[in-house]
Symmetry: C2
Subunit: 241 residues, 2 copies
């Protein structure tokens, strides 16, 4: 994103991305630290070009921020209460930018544009965090993964947006499981269960879990995993294509 | 809505309301016929004031269109593909308005404003159709209830919006049941089942249905309904407060 891109964007409408990452057997969220004096955090966000569909915009933003594409990215809710006033935050970013450079008129106009009320469309994705190379924009200082249970306080309603995204992730997880592409091609029921336990943050009982997963009718059972102890070896599964 | 209100609205962002009506034991949708030469139909729509939250705007629009308020009204999806081009429709409405009156500059500007690309937030409600007094705006000729299975072809993606709203209505029906306020204060299990059968457009088996409803833990069982034949009389229920 360049500062003068804003003239090509739809006014007062943004996209906030909740990018969940599966990493070290934990559920994390990609959070950016804003480039200003002091510590302020936000979700990766972006805007919609005048000639661009909203899903297309969300995929572009995800690609810009994570360098991954072809990922399930679902719209889940619009956030448009008043006030959603970010003018104080924008002023603080503007102050720092002013110190760094001699801002041109267009850049001042960009900050004025940013200070308007924005209504934001929330999208969420769940990715393998190790495949992500986080990128930042000129508004950010850094971007890092934070445990879902230990997020920093973010600007505006961004913590609330994450909570709503987590609800949506859980409600749709059975349907979206395959698309998220988080497991190796062949996996055990135990590995799948571990993924569910991390997403839902609760234990499942193995028997119930296995029955539920088989009932979904998306798994194909393969040979047993070679472990040396044949009769205790778990079956391997893969997703039906 | 007045023509010069548009200056107070957020640009390029609209709200489309799918107002489901429960009427004559059928599920219906409120559809407006646009005021132009020929037959063109659309969902009741409106815009968001600059100082108004989106839910607040949706409630205002519902009130303006149905004269009811305090109704469960849920946001369910944003529609923002390109093209969503309504300029041909707007031109046709404009033509008729031109014949009716000498349009002032502000009114011409309004039609230009309307011809922009709009991203639309979908909201749905389910109301007792008999409690609704449909109102129209100056863009409409009439507003009527149509059976969900027999909707007219509407402008843009409005038929698709109804399909998505119906999915959302069904997914959330257990949770929203009470809020929709469609049954008399005391009702029989049979009456409740009928409502479900209409919303889901399929029969339920009485035993399974009763078990499911009791498991939801929202019903309080009352005395038997007086029918004259005491031992065959069904129990009455009401929602727990």
């Amino acid at each position: 994103m360049q500062m003068d891109d804003y003239k090509n964007f739809i006014n007062q409408l943004s996209i906030d991305c909740v990018i969940f990452g599966y990493k070290e057997k934990k559920l994390k969220v990609l959070v950016t630290k804003l480039k200003l004096h002091g510590d302020l955090y936000a979700l990766p966000s972006g805007f919609i070009k005048r000639d661009e569909g909203i899903d297309q915009a969300a995929h572009r933003i995800l690609k810009e921020r994570t360098n991954i594409k072809n990922i399930c990215l679902d719209q889940f809710r619009v956030f448009g209460d008043v006030p959603r006033d970010n003018s104080v935050v924008i002023d603080r970013i503007f102050e720092l930018n002013k110190e760094d450079s001699n801002l041109k008129e267009v850049e001042k106009d960009f900050f004025l544009w940013l200070k308007q009320r924005f209504i934001s469309i929330g999208y969420y994705a769940l990715v393998n965090a190790d495949e992500v190379i986080p990128s930042i924009t000129f508004l950010d200082e850094s971007a890092d993964w934070y445990d879902i249970g230990n997020l920093p306080k973010m600007v505006l309603d961004h913590n609330h947006i994450v909570a709503k995204a987590l609800e949506a992730l859980r409600v749709n997880f059975d349907d979206r499981l395959m698309g998220f592409n988080l497991l190796p091609e062949k996996f055990t029921m135990k590995e799948l269960q571990k993924l569910y336990e991390i997403v839902y943050d609760k234990p499942f009982r193995s028997n119930n879990f296995q029955k539920k997963m088989l009932d979904l009718n998306v798994l194909e059972r393969l040979e047993k995993k070679f472990t040396g102890a044949a009769n205790k070896a778990p079956y391997l599964y893969r997703f039906k294509s």
